[in-house]
Symmetry: C2
């Protein structure tokens, strides 16, 4: 696909790392600390599990390119899609609190992934405290998104949930590439959407169909076009969160230059 694989790869990596600087900008040393934590890089095919629920936890996964779903199997074989990871996300992080992985990581598209051994991750907390704090804030952001997801599934009807899904990805993609318009390249099957929204694929189908009939969206092949973003957003009842950017309590932290001295200790 690429004329120059190496160059494209570098671009992808840069894009992925930009994602982490949503809260504070990191210096080169901090960025390379993260990059050096990656022990190896791999490309996974669609549906080829990166990690299976129940597996022993050994790594976390920096997603460099592609979409990856985090699926939790419940008791009777049904599945909950708790998160879809986009480039720049670190997937599998919640598992570090566990002995066995809580969810499977399955690529929804071809995916390029950097593997980070847990020990390397831990080391970042010593060597790059600002990066560590960024990862921490990032984890809290994930909690907010999960809370909103839960609120949508727990409190809203099918139309609202489907619209919430659409808006969720619309917004995240816009952050990822500012040139993103209203046509979304949509690798999620209706079954996936159903597993995310706590619905049946049958009902997701009917809901999408209804949205199409009302002229709010248009589906072209695997893509979805939002014809009326405001109306969909309205229907979604899904908050458009304002995440912090360079807040004083965060920026005032001194950068690490390897010269962290005893001044802070008693």
């Amino acid at each position: 696909m690429s004329v120059n694989g190496a160059a494209q790869n570098a671009d992808l990596k840069t894009a992925a790392l930009r994602r982490l600087q949503e809260f504070i900008s990191l210096d080169d040393q901090e960025l390379s600390a993260l990059e050096n934590a990656v022990s190896c890089q791999r490309v996974y095919r669609r549906r080829e599990p990166i990690l299976r629920q129940g597996d022993r936890v050994t790594h976390v996964y920096l997603l460099i390119d592609g979409w990856v779903g985090s699926h939790t199997e419940v008791d009777g074989g049904s599945n909950q899609l708790s998160k879809v990871h986009l480039p720049g996300d670190i997937a599998g992080l919640p598992n570090i609190a566990l002995v066995e992985a809580a969810s499977s990581l399955i690529p929804l598209t071809v995916a390029t992934v950097g593997l980070i051994p847990l020990k390397n991750l831990a080391r970042l907390f010593e060597t790059a405290p600002r990066l560590a704090l960024t990862l921490f804030v990032n984890a809290q952001q994930e909690r907010v998104m999960l809370m909103d997801h839960l609120a949508a599934v727990g409190q809203t009807d099918a139309t609202q949930r489907v619209c919430a899904l659409l808006m969720h990805f619309h917004r995240r993609l816009k952050l990822l590439r500012p040139d993103h318009r209203d046509l979304i390249d949509w690798p999620l099957s209706q079954e996936h959407m159903a597993q995310g929204a706590g619905l049946t694929s049958v009902h997701v189908n009917r809901t999408l169909r209804e949205l199409t009939r009302k002229g709010l969206i248009e589906r072209v092949g695997k893509s979805i076009r939002l014809l009326d973003v405001d109306a969909v957003s309205e229907l979604a009842a899904f908050p458009d969160r304002r995440f912090v950017h360079e807040p004083s309590w965060l920026t005032s932290m001194e950068r690490s230059h390897g010269r962290r001295v005893a001044a802070v200790s008693k």
Copy 2:
């Protein structure tokens, strides 16, 4: 209530801090670093908001005693209870990624809370990297619990969700005080339970009643007794997670003695 308020308070604080050492034990210096981050301590009455959704984010809240609910209001006035905090939890953490608080923190009982200004929290990442890493792992654990919560609400029926709630608190209380038996002092109203489970209070009532009729639980005043823990656990379809304890990747991290030198830098 207490003969010696100060002494009891110290006990409570100790208990709260123990909660953070689920993953690795911390040394005295690290524990006092956290304690020093608390700028002031306050007692809140039941229902007296500690923080309101939409408020500007200035602190996080170390819960020392009592139960505190995290409620997110959705669009049409309905509420999702995304988390109930028990002593030792740090409440309001997800908000640090946000400009305005995503959820309200409302005590379900009288609650004693230590307020931690954001700047003090950030400083811990410089002064106590092992504590910071503990907080990070703790955040990931919260994500796992939120994912399980989501899976329950999204994929299971009313009986399973109510049983999941019961088991959830049963297990958390057992960790908190090993002497805990099957009688749970239950400050949640059926309306609260409904908001947590994504159900109606009416339906929660019928479900509880049905569980009582089957002899699985017994309700005495505000308490609930699990008469058949195994059966309830079975019905819950709710995984009993094994969280890590002193894993090698975590324990191998060197303790901070304020003598962190340039060795780690390039």
